[in-house]
Symmetry: C2
Subunit: 307 residues, 2 copies
C-alpha cells in the first residue's frame, strides 16, 4: 500500500560532542522516506526544496521507490536550513540558525497520482499546511498520523487543535505531550490527548523508548541501550518512517501490528543515531535490520509464571 509523507527536505549543520558537520542533507520527510522505503513502495513525498538541494540525493531516493511528484522546486531560493548544537546528554540542543528560505512559501499541492494513498504521515509543520493536505485528499486514508512541536502549541494552538480532530494518531515526545495538556503524568496526558481527536498516541522518550496508547491499552517499547549516540538528528522522523513503513507494508492497523511497527521504528532510529545525518540509513541492509529487531526481542523478553 502507498504512503504519503509530508515534511521538510532540507539542510542541517550539526554539532555534537563527537564532531561537527557542514551543511548535510536532512529534513523530516527525508528521514521518513529513507526509513520507510525499506518496507513499502511507493513512498509519495510532499515537500518544497530550493535550487541547492542535491540532484544525487533526489536520484538516490527515487531509486528506493520514493516518488517526487509532490516535491516543488523553487529555482531562485535556497532550501530550508537548520543548525544546532547538542549537549552532552544528547536529549537537549540549542538551535543556532533557522533559515526558512523556501519553507516560508510552502503551500503543498497533492498530485493526482497520490490520490488513494492508504497511509499519511504529516511531519512537523505549521498546522495549516498539515490541514491543507488532509483536505485535498479525495479519499480518507486508512491511517493519518501527525507529528508537531511546542512552537505550534505556542503560536498556532487553535489550528493545531483543528488538525488533531482530523487525525488518527499523534506522535510527539514526552515534553510535547506534557506541554499540550498541562499534565505531568504521561498517563493523564495520554488520556487527555485521546479526547482531542486522535484515538492513538505515541509518546517518544528518546533513550528511554516509546509508549503507545489506545483506549486503556498501553505498550512500552524500550530503546536499545547504545554505546554511543553519535547524532540524534532525525531519530524521531526515522522512527516515524519505520513505523509507517511497516504499517503500510502490511496494511494492518491493529494495535498488535502497531506494536510491531514501533519495534521496527525503534530499530531504524537506533541505526540513524550511529552516524551524522541520514548516512547510516542509506547504507543499512535488510539483514542488519533483522538482526537489530532480534536484539529488541532479546532485550525485553522474559518468561514468568504467576505466583
Amino acid at each position: 500500500m502507498s504512503l504519503i509523507t509530508v515534511g521538510t527536505m532540507a539542510f542541517d549543520a550539526i554539532e555534537t560532542p563527537f564532531g561537527k558537520t557542514d551543511k548535510i542533507v536532512g529534513g523530516s520527510a527525508t528521514y521518513v522516506a529513507y526509513a520507510a522505503s525499506n518496507f513499502v513502495k511507493p513512498v509519495q513525498q510532499i515537500s518544497i526544496i530550493g535550487y541547492d538541494f542535491p540532484q544525487e540525493e533526489l536520484a538516490d531516493m527515487k531509486s528506493r521507490g520514493v516518488e517526487m511528484d509532490g516535491v516543488v522546486v523553487i529555482p531562485d531560493k535556497k532550501s530550508f536550513f537548520w543548525s544546532g548544537r547538542y549537549h552532552e546528554d544528547m536529549n537537549s540542543r540549542d538551535t543556532l540558525i533557522t533559515d526558512l528560505n523556501v519553507l516560508a512559501d510552502f503551500d503543498p499541492k497533492v498530485p493526482n497520482s497520490y490520490q488513494g494513498a492508504e497511509f499519511l504521515m504529516l511531519g512537523n509543520l505549521v498546522p495549516a499546511v498539515q490541514m491543507s493536505v488532509i483536505k485535498q485528499l479525495k479519499q480518507r486514508p486508512k491511517l493519518i498520523v501527525m507529528d508537531t512541536m511546542n512552537f505550534w502549541m505556542e503560536s498556532a494552538l487553535d489550528d493545531l487543535k483543528d488538525v488533531l480532530k482530523q487525525v488518527d494518531m499523534l506522535m510527539v515526545n514526552d515534553a510535547e505531550a506534557r506541554q499540550l495538556t498541562g499534565q505531568f503524568s504521561l498517563v493523564k496526558a495520554a488520556r487527555q490527548i485521546m479526547t482531542m481527536g486522535p484515538k492513538y498516541l505515541i509518546i517518544k522518550k528518546g533513550e528511554h523508548g516509546a509508549l503507545l496508547f489506545h483506549g486503556d491499552d498501553v505498550f512500552y517499547a524500550p530503546a536499545l541501550p547504545l554505546e554511543d549516540v553519535f547524532d540524534p538528528t532525525g531519530a524521531g522522523d526515522t522512527f516515524a518512517g519505520g513505523f509507517m513503513g511497516h504499517l503500510a507494508k502490511s496494511g494492518d492497523i491493529s494495535f498488535e501490528n502497531m506494536k510491531r511497527g514501533i519495534i521496527v521504528g525503534s530499530a531504524m532510529a537506533s541505526f540513524c543515531v550511529e552516524k551524522f545525518g541520514p548516512t547510516r540509513l542509506k547504507e543499512v541492509t535488510r539483514s542488519e535490520i533483522d538482526a537489530r529487531i532480534q536484539q529488541f526481542k532479546d532485550l525485553v523478553s522474559f518468561e514468568i509464571e504467576l505466583l
Copy 2:
C-alpha cells in the same frame, strides 16, 4: 532460602506535590523487608534503631517472617531520621533534614542464627559497614547485592571500591552509574563497573524502568506508566526487596531468573509509590501482585516475524 538484609530502619518526613507527612516509618531495610517477605521466609534483618521505633512495626514485620536478631536497639537514642521534599517531576528531591542519631554508631554484628544465608542485600550504607557484614559471614552467600549512593563516591571511594570487589551485583540509579565511572553512556558505564568487581549490574531509571547487564547480555524492564506517583520514597529499596525475595524464593541465580526478579521488583515498586511510606506494601495482596505482574507482561509483549 534465607535472605539477609542490611540497612536502615528509620523515620522519614516527606513532602510531595500531593501532600506531606509527619514522621513515618521508613529506611532501606524496612522497605526491603516488606517487599521481600511476600516471597521468602525468613528475611533476616540487620539494622540499628532507637527507643522511638514503634513496637507495632517490629511486631508487624515479625508476623511476616522478618527476623530481628540482628537489629540492635539503643535505649537512650533516637532512630535515624530523614526529611525531604520532592519536586514535581518526582525524580529530584531536596533533603531538608538528616539526623543520623543511632546510625552514627552502627557497627553491625551478624547473629549466629543468620550464618549460612544464601542471599545478602547490602542496603546503601557507609562502605566500611557493608564490608564488615561480608567479612563476618563464615560461608559466602550465593549472591551478594549492594546498593550505594553518590555521597560515598565522594567521601569514601576507596572503601567503596573495596566492597565492589567482594560483591556479585551492584544496584544503582543512572546518575550514580555515571558518577562512579565518568561515562555518560550507560552501556560504557556498565562495562566499566563490571571490571570493578560485580559481574552483574542493575541500573534503575525510575519512571523509565531498569536495565540488567551481565557480560554482553542486557535486559530492559520498563516501569509501569502510572497515573500518579504519590510518593517515590523507598521505591528503589522496594524494587531490591522484590528482586531479592524472588531470587531467594527460587534459589535460582541464572540471568533468566534475574529478569523475572526485576519484573517482580518493578511490580512491588509500582505499589510502593501509590501511598506515603510503606503503607501500600503492608496491605498489598498476593492476587494484586499477580495482576500487576500480568500488567507488565502485557505492557511489553509483542510478536514479530523477521522480515
